[in-house]
């Protein structure tokens, strides 16, 4: 159990009478790249919202790094080591690229500085600001965004906005990174780059990656394990080769 970073047990949520997600059991080991696929409306993003605390589960429970999560706020779950990106990019559009990443670094214990210290401009404020900016630049360098660091986030091209969102999520120093359709709207070349980026992030930041994706090339290329959802329930589970050749999965995607 020690190497299990995220485990859901009979996780489910219903909105009114609609059972959006039911009895989902996912077990993700440390350092894995785990995929979650399924047709539109299968409940994939709902599972992400459950794990990040946007929704509270109506049935079942889940564990992060062996700790049961019950009634935690989104902030607290983030502090426990869960960071995410969004299906429709959500950046801080009117802030510069480097500041977006600095917001991600906000809660890091290395950059503690109280409001009073900031208002009175005590030495700690300047030290924290400087080291935060350096750290943010370092992260941007990894994602090849350093030259754009003073642009407003909304002025970045689409692919770079995606990268920035991942950089901001990584700035919170997560144990597990949830990526919601990272390759949406990307061309094949960008997707190939993204696959390299995801592998690089997993290897160098010591994080587990849990991703939702429709691009089967990406899923088959980097995921080590897959869960297929259909109508809120688990349809299949296993390695990509096993799952993608499963007749039930093909039926769910393409119909009879």
């Amino acid at each position: 159990m020690a190497d299990c970073i995220l485990e859901t047990r009979n996780l489910g949520i219903s909105f009114g009478g609609l059972n959006a997600v039911q009895n989902v059991n996912i077990k993700i080991n440390k350092g894995q790249i785990y995929g979650l696929i399924g047709p539109n409306g299968a409940g994939k993003t709902t599972i992400f919202n459950l794990i990040t605390g946007v929704y509270k589960p109506t049935t079942g429970t889940f564990f992060i790094d062996g700790k049961e999560i019950k009634g935690y706020s989104q902030e607290k779950i983030n502090h426990l080591g869960v960071a995410r990106t969004f299906q429709n990019i959500r950046l801080f559009n009117n802030m510069t690229v480097v500041r977006n990443v600095m917001v991600g670094l906000h809660n890091s214990p290395d950059y503690k500085c109280t409001v009073i210290e900031s208002i009175l401009r005590l030495p700690r404020h300047f030290k924290v600001e400087k080291t935060m900016r350096e750290k943010a630049k370092e992260l941007l360098r990894i994602f090849d965004l350093e030259n754009e660091r003073n642009f407003l986030a909304c002025n970045l091209p689409y692919g770079k906005q995606r990268k920035l969102e991942i950089a901001r999520a990584l700035a919170t120093n997560p144990k597990i990174l949830l990526l919601d359709e990272p390759a949406a709207g990307m061309n094949p070349q960008e997707t190939a780059e993204l696959m390299d980026t995801i592998r690089f992030v997993r290897d160098n930041f010591n994080v587990t990656v849990f991703l939702i994706e429709h691009d089967m090339k990406l899923v088959a290329g980097i995921c080590e394990e897959l869960t297929v959802l259909n109508f809120g329930t688990e349809l299949a589970h296993g390695t990509p080769q096993m799952v993608l050749n499963d007749p039930r999965v093909i039926t769910a995607y393409l119909g009879d």
């Binding site: 802030m95 600095m102 090339k217 393409l254």
Partner: protein, 379 residues
């Protein structure tokens, strides 16, 4: 280590200090400043404090608050009352002022917390309605107090403070307000507040304690509205609840919006300008013409808004604005061959594309020949 000192970042302190020093030198050396000018200066400083503090909530936190006059009302009544209680024992000096300032600002901040905790669960229009209601409730509470406690409908009379010095104190308070709010905004905490404005859902997911920062911004804003209230009670001799109606809240909001959301210097200029206009209109248009005051005020506001936003006036604005005016003074020639970095101005959309640009478009083909849709197979 202190980072690069940029004069641009401190220009507002410098301008306000210069104005304050000029007037205090004239005033203290026995020069001719009539009381109405001093009164106008006090009114302007009060407006500036109000506008800058509201700007924190509206411009940086991104929440609409229509109860700013309510917090000012609390500060004015509490500060005025404390001052009149202390007048006998402590006299009419700076000590009385400081104690009443602390009391007024403190109680206003407390109101900010009490209102903030339930209200900040609401969003957008709903928060605006709750704050609007708060302002009206506070006003009618003070209006219906007994004559001995807070003066009731007649108003609370406050001690007279030497006009020669009050405006200097007011300017110091403006600088203090600016220092606190600007230092907050230009720190990691300010970044957290701005991130909530830009995208609250993402701020949650990035681990920002949204409730804490909303409450902090709301409380600080209420506190400085209280400071403005105390200043008002010292400047006016009587505090009447009718002053703090929702019209006044809207007027403060107009200052913030006119100055540009999230632009402190803009708020300062707009606050000074609107107060100046209002006061001048009130002195020029008297008697039968008094009814025209609001008309002219509204017309000027409409003109400013249209002038600043109309796309057709863009060329005119670029030609005749203050920034280029100052640039032309300091820099006699502008060399058209110097091209500034285009990347810095991404929002400028080219309207005319030349043949060269079309020919220089770089089209690359994918070697692997696979289309984007190949991998996607949504049921």
């Amino acid at each position: 280590m202190i980072g690069k000192f940029k004069i641009k970042h401190y220009i507002n302190y410098i301008v306000i200090s210069i104005v304050a020093v000029i007037f205090s030198v004239i005033s203290l050396s026995g020069g001719q400043i009539d009381n109405s000018t001093l009164f106008l200066l006090e009114k302007m400083t009060i407006s500036i404090i109000l506008a800058v503090s509201l700007s924190l909530v509206v411009g940086f936190l991104g929440e609409l608050s229509l109860g700013h006059a309510g917090f000012m009302c609390v500060g004015a009544y509490i500060g005025g009352k404390v001052a009149s209680l202390l007048e006998e024992s402590l006299g009419n000096g700076i000590l009385t002022f400081i104690i009443s300032l602390t009391a007024g600002a403190g109680i206003a901040a407390l109101c900010g917390i009490i209102i903030g905790i339930p209200a900040l669960r609401l969003r957008g229009d709903y928060l605006a309605i709750v704050t609007l209601a708060f302002g009206e409730i506070v006003r009618s509470i003070f209006q219906n107090t007994s004559a001995e406690s807070f003066g009731g409908a007649i108003g609370l009379s406050t001690p007279r403070f030497d006009k020669k010095y009050l405006f200097i104190i007011a300017f110091v308070l403006v600088l203090a307000t600016l220092a606190v709010l600007q230092n907050l905004i230009r720190s990691k905490h300010g970044r957290a507040i701005t991130s909530i404005r830009d995208n609250e859902i993402a701020a949650h997911a990035t681990g920002i304690n949204v409730t804490k920062y909303k409450l902090l911004a709301f409380t600080l804003s209420a506190m400085f509205a209280g400071v403005a209230g105390v200043l008002y009670s010292f400047s006016n001799y009587t505090v009447q609840s009718a002053k703090f109606g929702y019209n006044y809240s809207i007027e403060i909001l107009v200052m913030v919006v006119l100055g540009g959301m999230g632009n402190i210097n803009g708020s300062i200029i707009a606050a000074a300008l609107i107060t100046f206009l209002n006061t001048k209109l009130a002195t020029i248009l008297t008697g039968d013409l008094a009814v025209l005051q609001n008309l002219f005020y509204a017309l000027i506001l409409v003109f400013i808004v249209i002038y600043n936003n109309a796309p057709k006036l863009k060329g005119f604005r670029d030609k005749y604005n203050l920034a280029s005016f100052f640039k032309n003074i300091f820099k006699h020639k502008t060399d058209p061959s110097i091209v500034t970095d285009d990347a810095a101005k991404w929002d400028v959309v080219p309207t005319k594309i030349t043949m060269d640009e079309i020919l220089s478009v770089d089209i690359t083909t994918n070697d692997n020949g696979q289309s984007d849709e190949g991998g996607k197979s949504d049921g």
